[in-house]
């Protein structure tokens, strides 16, 4: 019966569906990279080519480490999915432009080799690789990670480049009402519009709120991330700071734009692998991030708490997921079921 088909090439057989979306992992990562470009451009404008150098070195070594790891572990090479590039950019974004390059490379090694590949590569790490890379650098080289250049210092004179204090460093330990007011009145603190456009000392990618928001909008429109996590995270910090600041809107605005909150909420807390999948889970996770960030800022000895709060919540994600399992279509709640059983019995 099948003489005819025997001559022809065999047909492909696979499980349904036979149509697939055009979206790919690589496409998603590319969108994330595109979304980070405004912040990258601004960082070059603000902190000079030092920052570009930092980003390029970080990306190059991230990719190199990823490639080497996969090679050594004799696994399919995954540098094509561009996720290592995202990690590289994010790590650089979380460091000051004055960071010595060899330290960045150490950070990349920690992020890619230890955090990502030791746990099985993309989709398997339980904490955000770039954030752990940053925290290791913070612990190992605190003087370097806290050495921030003033914006536009590169234009004046390299030798005289002043190191500046970040807005959060000014606020650190000054969260009581009077102290906060005096910080806000001091000339050292940049104005709110300067904060919005990033004209302040800080890490590469975190300073310009405008650029980060543009990136966020791009990701929302492309449906790469849902606004749930960024909005809940930033919203929680805003509400807590509004209360702490006695209703002061400008204090709240400073707290939202200062430090790495926007960068963290938009690009780090939303990492697929280390955040919950369901809407409810996302809300719990993001609110948790917001609370921890606020607590560290207000009561902690560190000026900033975004990295730690995201990492802490990352660790809780499996538990959050278990608690927020979606109920299958038409299934009744367990409690309700029990009640019904009792009623019938």
């Amino acid at each position: 019966m099948s003489e005819n088909t025997a001559e022809k090439k065999l047909l492909t057989v696979s499980a349904s569906p036979h149509r697939r979306t055009q979206d790919t992992t690589r496409g998603i990562m590319l969108d994330v990279i595109i979304a980070m470009i405004p912040a990258l451009v601004l960082s070059v404008v603000l902190f000079g080519f030092d920052s570009l150098k930092l980003v390029l070195v970080s990306v190059a070594f991230s990719v190199l480490f990823e490639w080497l790891c996969r090679k050594v572990m004799k696994r399919d090479n995954t540098i094509g999915d561009l996720s290592a590039i995202v990690t590289g950019i994010l790590l650089a974004f979380n460091l000051p432009s004055t960071m010595p390059l060899y330290m960045v490379i150490i950070g990349d090694a920690v992020a890619i080799i230890v955090v990502k590949q030791f746990f099985g590569g993309i989709g398997q790490n339980f904490v955000n690789p770039a954030l752990v890379g940053r925290i290791v650098l913070m612990m190992s080289f605190p003087t370097y990670t806290n050495n921030f250049a003033e914006p536009f210092a590169w234009k004046i004179d390299k030798i005289d480049a002043v190191s500046g204090a970040t807005p959060l460093a000014l606020f650190a330990g000054n969260y009581s009402h009077d102290a906060a007011v005096s910080v806000m009145n001091s000339s050292e603190l940049p104005g709110l519009s300067q904060m919005f456009f990033g004209i302040r000392a800080g890490c590469l990618g975190e300073t310009c709120a405008a650029a980060l928001i543009v990136g966020a909008l791009y990701l929302f429109i492309r449906k790469v991330i849902s606004p749930t996590i960024p909005l809940c995270y930033i919203g929680t910090v805003a509400v807590i700071m509004l209360i702490r600041g006695g209703g002061s809107l400008s204090f709240t605005a400073y707290q939202v734009m200062a430090g790495g909150l926007l960068l963290g909420a938009i690009f780090m807390a939303t990492d697929y692998t280390t955040s919950p999948m369901s809407f409810k889970g996302k809300v719990i996770y993001a609110v948790g991030c917001g609370i921890i960030t606020s607590l560290i800022r207000i009561f902690g000895s560190l000026p900033e708490g975004v990295s730690f709060s995201i990492i802490l919540m990352n660790i809780l994600v499996p538990h959050i997921e278990r608690l927020t399992h979606s109920r299958p279509f038409g299934a009744v709640k367990e409690k309700k079921e029990k009640k019904e059983k009792e009623a019938t019995a």
Binding site: S2, N4, T5, L11
Partner: protein, 444 residues
């Protein structure tokens, strides 16, 4: 303006926007000449297979009963051509199921069986018996014997008849053509089922990418004496709106619980072509011996809608549609989302098949499977609120209780998850594996 139109009571969650590819929607169904041989498997429906009631060498005529069973969940099978039974043997169907098959050599006469006459229907029982005798199974693709679906207890609180004209699978347009070309049959069929079984409410569901069908169905609803009883419900074009549970949710807001049927929440869902067939059968007494199919895909020369005797070889149909225009990559019976890829085209068409897709290179985007990045798109796309990627992990770990709690058995394999996966993971396959793991545990 449109008193016959109603809005869905509840919105279906998830789903995916699949390109419609309804290329054949303007092509009326073309009746193909009957082939020289038909292969009639005795297992064309969900339920017990039939036993042949003819012997090798018998002469049969079109519409003559050739297979039946005394089991309840079963639909009899009739000869689709006239001629001689040349063999009865075990053969594989297109999807690989081995089934006893009656092979009939066509004498080219297509003589109708003498015993064919319109059934006498006065009571509800006679109607259901007639539907059984017609050999009708759900023409939408699942192949569930229709008489079983209709034979509910009168006091079971079943109040709503949902006529499914959604046709949410890409490519397929036979239900649409049924509405446009045989609207009178559709009208009569709906009324017959409604009146014989005493439905208070009929809702005809159709996706809004078929405005012409909506217009025609609206007129059908208008013609009803009691205007409040039949309504047309246009649905947003989104896969899988046409799935049974989704349909019940849109029409009534009721959710069919896991492991239950629409009848358990007071609904009967029926395909529009099935309703039209009932009207024809009641008028003529001709059982289900032929069916309409959409033949489409980039690798077939002349895509079109055809009507062929049940049991016609797939290869024959493709050849009659101009043959292959390029080397086919994949051939699918049914739609691209839920249809089955077949190995051999020398297999017969069954009652429940509604399309043959001859997919070429441009239709198939082969994506390499990569690691899950936990983007959650599968969970977002699942209309039944499952989390496919997590279920996949439970299945690998053989975590039975977690699998059960995650609602694995609820999955209807619509394919929305796998469609939306950026990592190209075959999630429907994994869901089937997960179900197999659970069944294995249950069998212990």
């Amino acid at each position: 303006m449109h008193p016959e139109l109603i809005k869905p009571v509840k919105k279906v969650r998830g789903g995916v926007k699949v390109p419609h590819s309804k290329n054949t929607k303007d092509m009326p169904v073309n009746r193909l000449p009957a082939p020289e041989t038909v292969y009639l498997p005795m297992n064309q429906h969900i339920g017990a297979p039939c036993e042949p009631v003819v012997k090798v060498g018998d002469t049969v005529k079109v519409g003559q009963l050739i297979g039946d069973s005394d089991k309840y969940v079963c639909a009899p099978i009739h000869a689709s051509v006239s001629g001689k039974v040349s063999a009865i043997k075990e053969l594989r169907t297109a999807t690989g199921v081995v089934s006893k098959t009656v092979i009939i050599e066509n004498d080219g006469e297509m003589t109708e069986f003498d015993g064919i006459e319109p059934p006498k229907i006065d009571t509800r029982e006679e109607f259901i018996q007639a539907v059984r005798q017609s050999g009708l199974v759900g023409l939408g693709g699942a192949g569930f014997p229709t008489h079983v679906k209709l034979n509910f207890k009168q006091d079971a609180g079943i109040d709503t008849l949902i006529i499914n004209a959604a046709e949410c699978e890409p490519y397929i347009t036979v239900d649409y053509r049924e509405c446009v070309d045989n609207s009178w049959h559709v009208f009569n069929g709906i009324h017959l089922v409604k009146d014989m079984l005493g439905f208070k409410k009929v809702i005809i569901a159709v996706e809004d990418n078929k405005p012409e069908a909506i217009k025609i169905l609206e007129r059908i609803a208008e013609k009803n004496d009691d205007r409040d009883e039949i309504k047309v419900m246009p649905l947003k074009s989104k896969y899988p709106q046409g799935a049974e549970k989704m349909m019940v949710l849109s029409a009534t807001g009721r959710k069919v619980p896991p492991g239950k049927l629409p009848a358990d929440v007071g609904c009967v869902v029926m395909n529009v072509a099935s309703a039209a067939f009932i009207a024809r059968f009641v008028r003529t007494g001709r059982p289900l011996v032929s069916r309409s199919l959409t033949v489409d895909g980039s690798a077939v020369a002349n895509p079109q809608n055809v009507r062929v005797p049940v049991g016609t070889e797939i290869e024959y149909i493709i050849q009659k549609c101009g043959g292959y225009s390029e080397e086919p990559v994949k051939i699918v019976t049914g739609g691209p989302m839920m249809g089955a890829a077949i190995v051999d085209t020398h297999r017969p068409i069954l009652k429940s098949n509604n399309a043959i897709l001859v997919l070429g290179k441009e239709d198939i985007s082969v994506k390499k499977q990569t690691d899950c990045i936990r983007c959650g798109r599968c969970a977002k796309a699942c209309p039944l609120s499952l989390m496919p990627t997590i279920i996949e992990k439970y299945a690998k770990a053989k975590d039975y209780s977690a699998l059960k709690a995650a609602g694995t058995m609820v999955c209807m394999e619509c394919g929305s998850c796998a469609y939306s996966c950026p990592a190209g993971r075959p999630l429907v396959q994994y869901m089937r594996n997960a179900k197999a793991v659970l069944r294995e545990e249950a069998g212990k």
